[in-house]
């Protein structure tokens, strides 16, 4: 970096070193440098938007909600997979910010990863409630019963955004392209732990395979990368326990949640207290 640019960076300016790649033109990805003004509270996504609006409109990246909800803007920021909208530049503690496309995925263009493997694996584990009473599932007459305690068993894992950061961080996915990956394994556990679901055996047949749950070495990088605190590493360990319990037949067969009784059969509400004002 030139001395003049170094001076310019102190405090007021930032340097974004952004990966550029056009597959039809470039042999391999390269980094392009942009100097942008620093603003208090700005995120990496704000910086990229500034570049796109004011400097180079050909820069390509995914973004949508700007508030860590949609999971579109996953990138490798200074060597760590993070959501660009969720990463304030001040927290990075550097004037030079290097942004690349997420590892363990192909690159469509610039910072846009090809998330096809993530979604293919996600679909493969049947990420929905599997039931034997398919008629009720197709045309529901009531809700399936679920207590708050039963909800707690999987709630944390249902916060997954499908942003793909966990798979980008996973060292096993980096070495084994066929590994199911933390996202789909965590979601497999999320549905297996759901008391309304009856698809445990179908999912176990998939995850208990050569490239399944047993390849996880519990590096924990997925949990560190997850922006929503889903903790896929924990889900995978719980899934291992479930699979082993099924193999050894230690787990009793659970009845799937029944449908809730009609309102007339439910407990009557408490009587209205005397002091409550009644309508005339």
């Amino acid at each position: 970096m030139a001395e003049k640019e170094k001076k310019a960076l102190t405090g007021e300016k930032l340097m974004f070193r952004v990966q550029r790649y056009e597959p039809t033109r470039d042999g391999k990805p390269y980094l392009e440098e942009f100097i942008i003004p620093f603003a208090k509270g700005m995120t990496v996504l704000d910086g990229l938007n500034y570049i796109k609006e004011k400097i180079d409109s050909t820069l390509v990246f995914r973004t949508s909600c700007r508030m860590g909800v949609c999971g579109s803007c996953g990138m490798l920021i200074n060597g760590f997979p993070e959501l660009a909208c969720h990463t304030p530049v001040e927290e990075l503690g550097k004037d030079v910010i290097e942004i690349k496309s997420m590892p363990n995925y192909g690159i469509i263009k610039d910072l846009v990863p090809d998330l096809t493997p993530l979604f293919e694996r996600h679909k493969a584990i049947k990420p929905y409630i599997v039931r034997s009473d398919s008629e009720e599932l197709e045309e529901p007459t009531a809700e399936y019963t679920q207590s708050p305690q039963e909800l707690e068993k999987y709630l944390q894992f249902s916060y997954c955004l499908k942003c793909g950061l966990c798979l980008a961080a996973c060292p096993t996915s980096a070495t084994d392209a066929l590994f199911l990956g933390p996202q789909s394994l965590a979601q497999a556990y999320r549905y297996c732990a759901d008391n309304r679901d009856e698809g445990l055996r179908e999912r176990i047949a998939l995850v208990d395979s050569g490239h399944g749950v047993w390849l996880c070495h519990l590096a924990g990088a997925c949990s560190e990368a997850c922006p929503k605190g889903v903790d896929p590493a924990l889900a995978i360990q719980l899934l291992k326990r479930t699979v082993l319990a099924q193999t050894l037949r230690l787990q009793k067969k659970k009845e799937a949640a029944p449908i809730a009784p009609p309102p007339s059969e439910t407990k009557p509400k408490l009587p209205v207290p005397e002091f409550t004002a009644k309508s005339p």
Binding site: T172, T175, A205, S209, G210, G212, L215, Q246
Partner: protein, 120 residues
């Protein structure tokens, strides 16, 4: 066969290897220690002592079991490591067969030696 069976066997053989190796090392190197358990072996590494153990049905069985357990545990672990390497597709596809082949060959060789010594 489901992967969890192999994995379970890996855990069981891991525990078994720990105790069997401990017994083997104790017999070979810690005479005073195993003497406390009432097992007395005079000069365990001498030729006559080794041959005494080799011709005993109990010791021969012990070594064959140790061999089987150690081979399974080692090769399953090695397979796990190799599966994560960018192997050529031909080797990756036939990795299981290669591992089984090596295991059977080593076990066959070791068992042949143990049985040969036992019947000598």
């Amino acid at each position: 066969m489901r992967q969890s069976y192999f994995r379970l066997l890996q855990l069981i053989t891991g525990v078994a290897v720990f105790f069997l190796i401990a017994a083997h090392v104790s017999a070979e190197r810690l005479e005073d220690f195993i003497g406390g358990f009432g097992v007395h072996i005079e000069e365990p590494t001498s030729w006559s002592s080794v041959m005494d153990r080799a011709t005993s049905a109990g010791w021969a069985s012990f070594y064959i079991i140790l061999l089987a357990v150690a081979i399974y545990h080692a090769l399953y672990g090695l397979r796990g490591v190799l599966m994560e390497l960018p192997l050529p597709p031909v080797i990756a596809r036939s990795l299981n067969q290669i591992m089984v082949g090596i295991g059977v060959a080593v076990f066959g060789c070791g068992t042949f030696i143990a049985l040969n010594a036992y019947y000598s």
